[in-house]
């Protein structure tokens, strides 16, 4: 029995007329997606990982009053290999960001990132400072941003529900983590700490700038000797 991939829900001619109303034929993905997503969305295990002030509200959210267990999310894992979602709860400093990227890379797919609060989303009140990363989305793919400084537990719960809705719309068939094309595509190169934080993806740009500066110096020297 074959089902046209373009029209999976259409009645198949191979099913007798009298059974057309009793049999639903669909793709495996369409059949499995709701079950698969239902189980995933209700057992999102966060990484037990607090960065700053927002971590305190995250802990409050997990405690009895707001009770993340209602959503199946109370199991804070200490290791990234058992976690599904990383809640970036607080200010990301330059010293910390290599660790965060490494933790993200260690998480098994499917993995999600929630940027909790102003600092994680864009640097917050500390953006202008020298030791702070102006938003974790400069390094990690963020699924949900939660505003607030810090967001209230209600806001965090709302963000997690938004993530659940996002999961509802994902499909096994199209999920990038099952794609055979480039299994390492989602791995983020770990930033390094030089004179300032270095995003490895920008090394060519930094080199070009250095060459430009060097050329300017040589030019000036040449001009000087000419004079």
């Amino acid at each position: 029995m074959t089902v046209s991939p373009t029209d999976p829900g259409a009645a198949s001619p191979e099913v007798p007329d009298e059974l057309q109303n009793n049999v639903a034929i669909t793709t495996i993905a369409k059949l499995l997606d709701p079950i698969y997503n239902w189980s995933r969305r209700n057992s999102l295990w966060p990484l037990g990982f607090g960065l700053a002030c927002c971590a305190i509200e995250m802990i409050c959210t997990a405690a009895s009053r707001f009770d993340l267990a209602r959503f199946g999310m109370e199991v804070f894992r200490a290791t990234p290999r058992q976690a599904d979602v990383m809640i970036i709860s607080g200010t990301v400093t330059k010293k910390m960001v290599p660790t965060i990227v490494r933790l993200f890379n260690q998480m098994a797919e499917p993995r999600y990132v929630i940027s909790m609060g102003a600092c994680a989303s864009g640097g917050g009140p500390f953006k202008e400072g020298y030791s702070v990363v102006d938003g974790i989305d400069k390094f990690l793919p963020v699924d949900v941003y939660i505003p607030g400084c810090p967001p209230t537990p209600q806001a965090l719960v709302n963000g997690l529900i938004a993530l659940q809705e996002k999961i509802d719309h994902q499909s096994i068939a199209t999920a990038s983590w099952y794609s055979k094309e480039d299994p390492m595509a989602d791995v983020i190169p770990v930033p390094v700490l030089g004179p300032d934080l270095v995003d490895v993806r920008q090394i060519d740009l930094i080199k070009a700038e250095a060459a430009k500066a060097q050329a300017e110096i040589t030019e000036a020297e040449v001009a000087e000797t000419a004079v």
Binding site: E57, R65, T93, T99, G123, P195, D196, V198
Partner: protein, 515 residues
Amino acid sequence: MTDTTLKTPDTVYENPVDEAIAILKERYPAAVTDDSRENYSGVVVNAENIVAVATALRDELGFNYLSSVTGVDLIEDNKMEVVYHAYNIEQGGGAVVLHVQVDRDDPVVPSLVPVFPGADFQEREAWDMFGIRFDGHPDLRRILTWDEFNGHPLRKDWREPFYEDDHKPFGSRWPGGGVHRAEEKNLYGKNVQYPSGWVPTGEEYEIETNMYEGITVSRDGTPGLKTDKVIVNMGPQHPSTHGVFRMVVTLDGETIVGLKPVMGYLHRNHEKIGERNTFIQNIPYTDRLDYISSMSNNHGYVLAVEKLMGAEVPERAEWIRILMVELTRIVNHLWALGFLLNDLGALQTPMLYFYIERELVLDFFEATAGSRMMCNFMRFGGVAYDLPDDVRGQPIMKFLNDLIYERIPKALEQGDGLMTGNEILRNRSIGVGYLSAEDAIAYSAAGPVCAPAAFPMMCAALNPILITNILILMWLFATTAIFMIASSFAWMRCVKVYVFWSRSCPISKRLRELR
């Protein structure tokens, strides 16, 4: 000089600080001079003599507690200054303030670590932030930034990547109301800058090369089984750090024989931002210093500014402040007790007991200040708002009376019942991580760290110092984590004091009178 000369009856000094300064000046006439600048206290000491002066101060004059070592950039005089505050623990009273001024281009000051071991981290911070080298320091590494960091950020002429102006309001934004994203002006689209002409390789960053220096792992010469010691990095992501703090731990079997704390993972450059801010713009930043006790931080800051301004606070506002600060303190202690259990291995469940009353207090804060945690409530000369009429649907005074006289004492008694007699907790706490009173003083321990060493006058007798220095906070946080185990019973004792305090608490009564 002996104690007898100290107590000569013919010279009468108003306080031990004046007396100590007079003796120092007499003893080192060439090296110790009065600070002639207006509104400055203390004495200026020659850099060469600072170790001798500090030794005399500690051993002979009894000023045995070094509370802070601070760098100051005097860019106009082309000088770097190091300021030391030393206190006399036995007598109490104010601080002897020592200023050491050195050339700004090559600032070198002899290290005070041999005299006051507590100077260790603070001198490292002054090196990191101001580039002042401390000659003779055993381990002069950067402490808040990382080894390769370019420059010393708290120098007045050092500029951050998103630099706009020396002070707010920034000219580009006010009064015209210009808005822009700082990333758009930065070549890399990020909060980064590199020295001109610096060529990265992307591979060969020898991070923390000197971190592991001085840690020996071999155990040659010891009898018995020959096994090396093991270095384990604990943190910055670790279930028991519940924050971002890292410890480089040397293990001999299962025993920790060495520990190097690594901090700076939450260094948010409050000071540099504070330099640019107006005074009132700093209040929200103080909320975020120690984010579990934001009201207390607000209070410390506004008290300092009020002292500078000579401002008076209405009595009702003062009582409201004290109410807020004390509730914050209870919340903070409850949190610490909950996490102590967490850290001892009773994961997650026991700490839920300590959060219930915290939520009530946070509801009160939210009703009053508009935010649960970052209250931004105090102002110079008062508070931002008066108390609300209702909290959680109850009249304010009924709510507060229930909370202070009923709920919190019961919660503390419950916590006491859960913890104090608990055999596992006792076994894991008593005698573990022992800190003697002498060590606590020598290492400049403060607050809850020194509480178990049983000298409460540390907290009470010293002048209230405004801690604008994030290092001290981070360091307190760090050492608190380390010594919390030892201090748990003292903590419980402190908290129990609140049970008695709350029963005799005059605050709500007084507030009603002032209404």
